[in-house]
């Protein structure tokens, strides 16, 4: 308050908040997770660069394990091409077009969840927008984060995008059928992952030849078995 003339200057009042700016998203993510849990569904947040093989991985998964009841949400800025590819592979898929947003958030997944029958689903894969930065920040209600890293992308990607790889429960090193044509240093990428992932777990995989897709399926099965609801089934 101005003491000279009493003109009514406002007083400054400090207010402690100490609240995460993702609190709203995290609340919705918890709600999504409860929804998955109630239906015994394991939810996977599948992230990676555009063209790193996310959709091809799901196609190969459906081809080699047709009895797995898999659902998918495909996040893209535009088009429902990925969802149509997944539907053609026998996966019940729904696209989430984000417009200009570079990532999915919990609210987008929540809205999409109202349109799927989770009772007939074992695994729900949320195929995030192709991007190694933004998707890592947002909890969607998933049980695990899986990141695809194609051998065509370069060994130092984990060091360049540590936030993404820090949050990965599993990294799938994709397109390994191309290794004979590349100067890709497998030891260097393993070293980069050891510096960015608290619990490095990597599977070298090729969706095209099917190499090691069984190891990914085994990881997925172990994940489902450790799930509290499906473990009882």
């Amino acid at each position: 308050m101005c003491e000279d003339c009493g003109c009514g200057d406002a007083a400054l009042v400090p207010v402690e908040i100490q609240e995460s700016l993702l609190a709203g998203n995290d609340r919705t993510a918890r709600h999504n997770r409860e929804h998955f849990d109630a239906h015994g569904v394991v939810a996977i947040n599948l992230m990676g660069s555009p063209g790193s093989g996310k959709t091809a991985l799901l196609e190969a998964t459906a081809r080699l394990r047709p009895e797995l009841r898999m659902g998918a949400f495909s996040g893209d800025l535009a088009t429902d091409n990925d969802a149509r590819r997944l539907e053609a592979a026998g996966i019940r898929a729904r696209s989430i077009t984000t417009g200009s947003a570079c990532h999915l958030d919990a609210e987008m997944v929540h809205r999409a969840l109202h349109h799927v029958a989770l009772d007939a689903t074992d695994v729900m894969v949320i195929e995030n927008v192709g991007n190694l930065v933004c998707p890592a920040i947002y909890d969607l209600g998933q049980h695990a984060n899986v990141v695809t890293l194609a051998v065509t992308e370069g060994e130092d990607k984990p060091l360049k995008y540590p936030v993404m790889f820090r949050k990965a429960d599993l990294v799938l090193l994709t397109k390994i059928d191309l290794l004979p044509y590349l100067d890709f240093d497998l030891a260097a990428v393993e070293d980069a992952l050891a510096r960015t992932m608290p619990h490095p777990r990597v599977i070298r995989i090729s969706a095209r030849t099917g190499e090691n897709v069984d190891r990914w399926l085994a990881w997925l099965a172990a994940r489902a078995a450790s799930h509290p609801v499906s473990a009882e089934a």
């Binding site: 009042v13 570079c102 510096r195």
Partner: protein, 113 residues
């Protein structure tokens, strides 16, 4: 550019707090951003310049406090340097991020008539 979404959440939260307390304006917004939170302070500032216009925060200064990444051993508590292999050099145990991933609205300064 998820910084726009973050800044929108920041503005919404600040406006709600200012209204609830009957403030005439927000003078300062203090946030803490971890080094490995995945949010760029400079992008946050430029996004803030756009969203604050016309709001009760229009004159509010945005103060960003960076928080360094801190890795600690889960077993013995020893510190592990960022950039090194994420294993405890003392006991070989697994490490966890003890600080550096926060995206937090810490404090507001409100002008109350």
């Amino acid at each position: 550019m998820h910084e726009y979404s973050i800044v929108q959440a920041l503005l919404d939260r600040s406006v709600a707090e200012a209204r609830a307390r009957g403030a005439v304006a927000v003078a300062r917004i203090c946030v803490a951003i971890g080094d490995v939170a995945g949010v760029e302070a400079e992008l946050l500032r430029s996004a803030y310049e756009l969203v604050r216009e016309g709001s009760i925060c229009a004159r509010a200064e945005l103060e960003v406090r960076p928080v360094p990444a801190l890795w600690r051993c889960r077993d013995c508590g020893a510190e592990v340097a960022s950039g090194a292999a994420l294993r405890c050099s003392a006991c070989g145990g697994p490490v966890r991020l003890a600080a550096g991933d926060e995206i937090v609205l810490e404090r507001l300064e409100l002008e109350v008539a």
